[in-house]
């Protein structure tokens, strides 16, 4: 059985529709109109024990909503969820003992105490032994550099410092299941790569199951064998993004910058490449898309040099960003 099972999950938020202005405020007193926002729309997926699942999608797609349901702080409108055999929102207290959660957007630490005090409090709450606790602290200091932050009150930390402490706090008790909702928000490059290493290492040595939400696709590329893409509450991709990228990598682009406007149709006839168009707003540059199995870039460039006097030529390979963008734009691969 899968460690995390989501079946036909739907969440719609009911919000009170406020009318504007004085007259609107008066009407609001007597007549309440509601709006429904379908944040998650009938999604199903499973996560196996030991898997790191990437969970991506554009803003407002429903990622955080899903994570909130899985952590037990949101009740689904319809459908079923189970994490480790427990239904999170029904057995919240029991459930949260076995999970670690980072919401990069807001802190999980108590606002009014020093970091170390929050950590020792969490140590007691999760019943972590003193020796394990010391070992964890040492490890977190190496990875996250939190040593100098320990005696600062949480409310005085900078965004990146706070996120680092939040990550440490959520992993202190070595939870078997971890939910990371934008965990690398506001982190500098060095810390970010440390954290990636650390997450990978934790997953490899402890078999921790994780769901990772982020807008930084290099995190996903580095950590996740499998990713889900959600858009407007629906899952539009479930698979290996790396594989999708390799598939797309057959499709390449050459951009040719020119000194003057040319007749695109005559060039198309001579090049015998179907996909040829002016790039963007600018008539002085062309993009040529081609499949590298059918024609080589060298051939195309050779022909272009025969035909035109280009200012510059660039060859583009697709990145993970373009892959995801294509999927967002619902183009078929």
């Amino acid at each position: 059985m899968a460690l995390i099972a989501v079946e036909n999950l739907t969440k719609s938020y009911k919000t009170f529709k406020r009318k504007e202005g004085l007259k609107g405020a008066f009407i609001n007193l007597f007549k309440r109109e509601y709006e429904f926002v379908q944040a998650v729309d009938n999604i199903s997926f499973h996560v196996e024990s030991g898997e790191i699942l990437g969970y991506i999608g554009p803003n407002g797609a429903g990622k955080s909503t899903t994570i909130k349901i899985l952590t037990g702080i949101l009740t689904p409108t319809a459908g079923e969820v189970a994490v480790n055999g427990l239904v999170p929102y029904k057995r919240r207290q029991q459930h949260v003992k076995n999970i670690g959660v980072v919401f990069g957007q807001r802190t999980q630490l108590w606002w009014d105490i020093a970091v170390i005090e929050a950590f020792t409090l969490l140590r007691d709450i999760y019943e972590v032994s003193k020796t394990d606790f010391q070992a964890q602290l040492k490890k977190f200091d190496e990875v996250l550099g939190i040593g100098p932050l320990l005696h600062i009150p949480v409310r005085k930390l900078s965004l990146g410092q706070r996120v680092r402490c939040d990550i440490a706090a959520s992993l202190l008790h070595n939870p078997p299941v971890v939910f990371l909702d934008e965990p690398t928000i506001g982190l500098d490059v060095a810390v970010k790569s440390n954290i990636r290493e650390f997450i990978k290492e934790m997953n490899a040595s402890l078999g921790t199951t994780m769901i990772l939400t982020t807008h930084d696709l290099s995190d996903i590329e580095y950590l996740c064998q499998r990713s889900l893409i959600i858009d407007q509450g629906k899952i539009i991709f479930d698979g290996d993004l790396q594989q999708a990228k390799d598939e797309l990598a057959r499709q390449r682009k050459i951009q040719v910058d020119l000194y003057e406007r040319v007749d695109i149709d005559s060039i198309r006839d001579q090049l015998k490449v179907a996909e040829l168009e002016f790039a963007g707003q600018n008539d002085y540059s062309l993009t040529i898309s081609f499949n590298k199995d059918e024609i080589s870039a060298i051939d195309i460039i050779q022909k272009i040099l025969d035909l035109l006097h280009p200012r510059d030529i660039k060859i583009e390979e697709p990145t993970i960003e373009t892959v995801v963008k294509e999927i967002y734009e619902k183009r078929s691969l």
Binding site: T71, I73, L74, K97, I113
Partner: protein, 273 residues
């Protein structure tokens, strides 16, 4: 034995929340003397009022001036507790609801009700040890103070009174979940508790029908019963039954808070925080 140890470790965790609040309160020193002066002034004004009313050895419903000297001082100190609980429980809960801190507490394997209670207890400990003790010492030196008739029973009764008010304050705090802005509810309950618990005047001074209604409500259990025990106005049997009724109210209100919290959280998790 195993359960006892488990209970003890959990208890220790919650006392750390008390300690955090205690230290937090301790760090606002300037505020300390300001509030102290304000409360002392109120006690002094009350004292002169009673001194005028009860001049020439007069008594009203059994209260003589020497009783009121102690009454106004202990009541004055108790207002620190009322203040601490309405701020540290009701207003705190409302703040946590709006800031999202509540959600973060729901993600911890900790009872939110006990977390809130113990934080407030830390605040009360601070109020009693520092502000309360200072006010009472000043009062004892300046005007005079009768010691409690039975210190142990007074303390038990006071603790139960605090628990009853904590229960009410928690219920008031929960109203935020349902009406967004609960400042009005908070103000109304704090004001009525000051009046109906006996911190303004002894409840026997009210008309008879009011007194008999108050017998069926928890308010007089908060302060009036403890101060009556302090002043030695109750016999042994009355004390025993008063303590039992106090314990019952404390229990009922906390259970009500527990149940209402559950349904309120369900509403919150359906709405989406």
């Amino acid at each position: 034995m195993v359960y006892l140890r488990k209970f003890w470790t959990r208890f220790r965790i919650y006392t750390r929340f008390s300690k955090i609040r205690f230290i937090d309160r301790l760090s606002y020193r300037a505020h300390f003397f300001l509030v102290l002066t304000e409360y002392l002034l109120i006690i002094i004004v009350n004292y002169f009022l009673w001194k005028a009313i009860l001049a020439d050895g007069r008594t009203i419903r059994g209260y003589a001036l020497e009783d009121m000297v102690t009454y106004v001082a202990v009541a004055g100190v108790f207002r620190f507790i009322i203040n601490e609980l309405s701020g540290g429980i009701s207003r705190e809960m409302s703040g946590q609801y709006h800031s999202g801190e509540l959600i973060m507490n729901l993600l911890k394997p900790v009872s939110y009700q006990l977390y809130i209670y113990f934080r407030a207890f830390g605040g009360i400990l601070f109020q009693m040890l520092f502000r309360g003790a200072t006010v009472l010492t000043i009062w004892a030196l300046l005007v005079g103070l009768t010691p409690p008739d039975s210190a142990a029973t007074f303390i038990v009764s006071l603790a139960l009174g605090i628990l009853i008010y904590a229960g009410i304050a928690f219920l008031v705090g929960l109203t935020t979940f349902h009406i967004e802005n609960n400042a009005g509810v908070l103000f109304a309950t704090t004001a009525s508790i000051e009046l109906l618990s006996g911190t303004l005047i002894p409840l026997v001074m009210f008309p008879g029908w009011v007194v008999s209604i108050l017998d069926y409500l928890p308010f007089k259990m908060i302060f009036y019963i403890p101060i009556q025990i302090y002043l030695g106005q109750l016999g042994v049997q009355e004390i025993v039954s008063a303590l039992i009724v106090q314990a019952i109210w404390a229990f009922i209100l906390s259970i009500a808070g527990f149940l209402l919290f559950k349904t309120s959280v369900r509403k919150l998790t359906i709405q989406g925080g």
